[in-house]
Symmetry: C2
Subunit: 210 residues, 2 copies
C-alpha cells in the first residue's frame, strides 16, 4: 500500500485526486492540505511514501514546502505538480531534491503509474519537463574540451599543477628535469592564453580541461 500525502489548494482538484488515488487498489491518501504552512508536523505525523506538492498555493507554496521537508526527511518521494512547465521552477525543484515533476494535465491513469514509479526509485517527469532538464544539463556539461590542443605531456603537467604540485614535484613525478617542467608550463600558458599558474588552474576548471 503506497501512502500518499497531498498538498493542493484547489478543492475540486484536491477532491478529484483523492478519489482517484484512494479508489485505486494499492494506493491510499493519508490526508490532504491546502498549503505547506504546517508541512513539518504533517509529514512527521503521517510518514507518507509519496508527497504530491502543488507548486502554486497561497501561503507556503510547494517550492518552500519542498525545502522545508528536505531539511528533515530525505526518504519520502516528492512529486511536484504544476500547470506550467516553467523553467525556473523546474530548476529550483530539482536542485532541492524533488523526485519528479508532473503537469496537472497528466491523465489519471498515468498519474498513478508515476506515483508507483517514484516509490520504485524512478524520477517520473512529463516529457516536456524532461526536455528542459536535458537542456539545462547539456548547457553545464557541454563538450568543449580539446580546443587548446595541449599535448599529452602538457596535459599531464597541467593536471599535476591543478593538484598543487610544485615544479620540482612535477619533475620528480614525471622523471624529467625541473627546467623541462618549466618549458612545458610556458607552452601551456601560451596555449591557454594565460600568464600565471592560478589563471591556468582556473581555466582548466572553467573549460573542463580537468
Amino acid at each position: 500500500m503506497i501512502k500518499v500525502l497531498l498538498y493542493e489548494d484547489n478543492p475540486q482538484f484536491r477532491e478529484g485526486l483523492t478519489m482517484l488515488i484512494d479508489g485505486s487498489t494499492g494506493f491510499s491518501v493519508l490526508a490532504s492540505y491546502k498549503n505547506c504552512d504546517h508541512v513539518k508536523e504533517e509529514v512527521e505525523k503521517w510518514k507518507p511514501d509519496v508527497i504530491l506538492l502543488d507548486i502554486n498555493m497561497p501561503g507556503t507554496d510547494g517550492l518552500e514546502g519542498l525545502k522545508k521537508i528536505r531539511q528533515f526527511n530525505t526518504v519520502a518521494k516528492i512529486l511536484m505538480l504544476t500547470v506550467f512547465d516553467d523553467n525556473k521552477n523546474v530548476f529550483e525543484a530539482i536542485r532541492n531534491g524533488a523526485d519528479g515533476y508532473l503537469l496537472k494535465k497528466t491523465p489519471p491513469a498515468k498519474l498513478l503509474e508515476y506515483i508507483q514509479d517514484a516509490t520504485e526509485g524512478g524520477a517520473p517527469m512529463t516529457s516536456s519537463i524532461a526536455a528542459q532538464v536535458l537542456k539545462m544539463f547539456q548547457e553545464t556539461h557541454q563538450v568543449k574540451y580539446q580546443e587548446y590542443n595541449l599535448s599529452e605531456r602538457e596535459n599531464q603537467v597541467l593536471h599535476l599543477l591543478v593538484e598543487g604540485y610544485s615544479y620540482k614535484m612535477i619533475g620528480n613525478e614525471l622523471f624529467i628535469a625541473i627546467d623541462t617542467v618549466r618549458s612545458h608550463i610556458k607552452k601551456i600558458y601560451e596555449k591557454l592564453h594565460v600568464n600565471s599558474k592560478s589563471e591556468a588552474v582556473a581555466k582548466a576548471f572553467r573549460d573542463k580541461l580537468i
Copy 2:
C-alpha cells in the same frame, strides 16, 4: 506522418520494431540498419523526423553514431535504446545531444507515444533513467557549501586569487598593504586546509566557492 529511421543490430527486434511502427497510423519506418557505419549518408538521404539508435551494436555503435549525426544534423530527434540503464552511457548520450533515452523493455504502446513526444519537443525517458539524470544534475548544481567560514574580506581575496591577481595587484585592488594580503591568504589556506595558491584555486572551484 512521423518518419523514423532505425538502427538496431538484432534482426528480430529490428523486424518487430519496424512492424510496430509501420503498422501504426501516423508512423512510418523509412529504413533500418544494423549499425551506424554509414550513418551520415543514410540520414542525409532519408531526412527522418526521429532516429532510434540502439546503444550496443557491432561496428559503429549508437553513441558514436549520435556524435556523427550531431555534427551535421541537429534537427532530427534522436532516441537512444538500451537494455541497461548504464550511468556512463546515459551521461555521454545526453551530453552529445540525445533527445531521449529508452529501455528496450518499454511496452510497444509507450514506445509510439515516446516517439510522438520527441517530435513535439519533449524528452521521453524511462523513469529510472530520468532518476539518474536528476541525480547527476543535483550533484553539479548543489547548493553552495559555506562550510569554510571565510570572512567577507577573505572571500574577496580568494576571488581575486582565482582571477590570477598577484598579491601586489590584490593589494592595489583592495587598497591594503601587500603584507595584509599575505596574512589574509595565510588565513584562507588554513581554513581551506591547503598550502599553495593552486590548491586554493582548485578547491574554490571544486567546492563551488566561486
